[in-house]
Amino acid sequence: MDFGRISRRHLLQGSAALTLGTALGARSAAAADTTIGFIYVGSRDDYGYNQAHAQGAAAVKKMPGVKVVEEEKVPETDAVEKTIESMINLDGASLIFPTSFGYYNPHMIKMAAKFPKLHFEHCGGLWSEKDPKNAGSYFGYIDEAQYISGIVAGYSTKSNKLGFVAAKPIPQVLRNINAFTLGAKLANPKATTQVIFTGDWSMPVKEAEATNSLIDQGVDVLTCHVDGPKTMVENAARRGAMVCGYHVNQSPLAPKAYLTGAEWNWEALYPKFVKMIAAGQEIPNFYRGGLKEEIVKVSPYGQAVSAEARKHADDIKAKLVAGDYVIFKGPIADNKGKTVISAGTERGQKDAELEKMDYLVDGVVGATS
């Protein structure tokens, strides 16, 4: 993708060298290394979705011969197309990670078609046969980690009331709520999960209101699925409730209240991708996995987690890592009494039916619409 870059550089040197010699010196260092671009939809220190990806980028940065460029707060419009092109044209990037769900269609697909020799890896698990072959989309079965959080929460609650602050009633979120609740019920059959949907991914005011309102109703352990769990974690800890984190480890925000959490493990996956490309291996276009594949992980237990809870959670975690445990195993009824997974049916990690989830399981207090 070097077309034009040399001539531009000469042109620029001609016009700018007189006044801006220092800048050019700083700029020319890029060429030798492989340059990898990371694009985030929010700020990369949000203690949430974007920070998880930035941690992955930081792990790549430590690899030899690799240069990482990052851009945050890029909206899911043609701005991301321009950011991708800018990383390619101006920085010489040959592998791009557009990490937000909405970057994929049409933006990343368009760029992958335009630059067929470069690699694109998107977070969301959206690739289908009609998409360019140099485009990939990966995702993690983080509901497995939420299930472990649910077990810990089930042991830790005294009121038997758990709370879940959620963004939108879409399949990925519902799957987390349901896995968390099934985990909690496994540990504590009396536990229920009260869910509040805020309506969007980053709504700090509504998230704080939801947190307070849940605690006012007697909830004493909370978790969430929003882009930045910071608001929920800090508010819940201030009110004396316990929390299970999401996206990254939020224990620095609330060391005493933090029980455990469902985390992405991008710092394991991204260096692996870079190594695979360097070795000439093909990354599957559709790449997914859970605890076993080390795409997700569970936060270390906080001090408030009992020995009994640790043992049960570790036991299930070991089974999930071994790949012989199914979370969504019939009979499962939704919270309106309808059977959604019949007795004898096991819906494993990769079951496509789970991708279409539109219900809340029995034990969840709340509605999808």
Binding site: G4, R8, L12, A16, T19, L20, T22, A23, L24, A26, R27, S43, V69, E70, E71, E72, K73, V74, P75, E76, T77, D78, A79, K82, T83, E85, S86, M87, N89, L90, D91, F101, G102, P106, G124, K168, I170, P171, Q172, G199, D200, E355, K356, S369
Partner: protein, 369 residues
Amino acid sequence: MTSGVADPAEAVAVAPAADPGFLQRHGGTIEYILIPGAALAGALGVFGIFVALFGKNPLDLYFYMYYGAFGTWFSWQNTLTRAAPLILTALCTALPAQLGMVIIGGEGALLIGALAATGAALLVQTAPPLVVQLVMVCAGMAGGGLWIMLAGGLRQYRGVNETISSLLLVYIALAILNHLVEGPMRDPASLNKPSTREIGAVNMIGSIPGTEVHWGLVFGIVAAIAAYILIYHTVFGFAARVAGGNIRAAKIVGLSVGRLILTICFLAGASAGLAGMIEVAAVQGKTNANLAAGYGFTGILVAFLARQNPLAIIPVAILLGGISASGGLLQRRLGLPDASVLVLQGIIFVAVLASDALYGRIGFLRGKS
């Protein structure tokens, strides 16, 4: 806002004509270039100091800003792509400003315009592409126009402050968009990113030949020129400015102020609605929450920096497009956070508004005063 309405031609006309020296004939025009230019230079200077405080070289900063915004053909296209929607959304604030109204709800009109255009396109999807596109233009403009006309009507007939009502209408528009996109208009296949169905690749309006800048730029420039002619060279525009200068005097001379307000508000909303239509027809191909990218809000900034002059909106939109285009490079090369671009925009905004006080006070431009 009428004091902010700037028309070079008129300024020249009212300049004292006694001594026909160059400065006195063109002093007004020079003033309209010199003062904002100086304000901009001052703002860049202050931003340079701000960046220096964070240990970065201001010369690097200026170089990368130039390089990322205007330094290469790619950078120019990046800048112009980002400027395109801003011209149209800025008109949504600048047109009502001629009547002394402060409308800040362009974002809402953009969303409603996008929804209307998408809905219309899906209804006539099988028609020839040109027909579909024309229907989308009409629907987008009508949707956005009626939306801002609502704020105008509330002001004229119910005495509701149009600034507040137009802002609140943004949130209503967003709620309507989310409701329709997640409900009646949802494409069942859009599982984790609720969206409408796509309008179809053949119905997209594409790029200006020889570039990757979409046609929205041309729409914007044509609309800005049309708005300029309407305001400064037609009886209707004259009537609007009279009403903006003194609403009582306008009523006394028999102007239909109500009709003026509704018409201007419709045209203003239609501009923003057109921006929404273009986002759908040139970029996204469908409607979803991605459309709420803040173009409507940046448009307010553009309109004020252009001192509500429709023609001045074009260069100002390109300037802000350039700042946003270079923002990515500042993040990547200098490690500045995304918010630094907002800091720069804020400094420019304050500097340009503060420089308003200088008009007519620079002695050598006005001869003796």
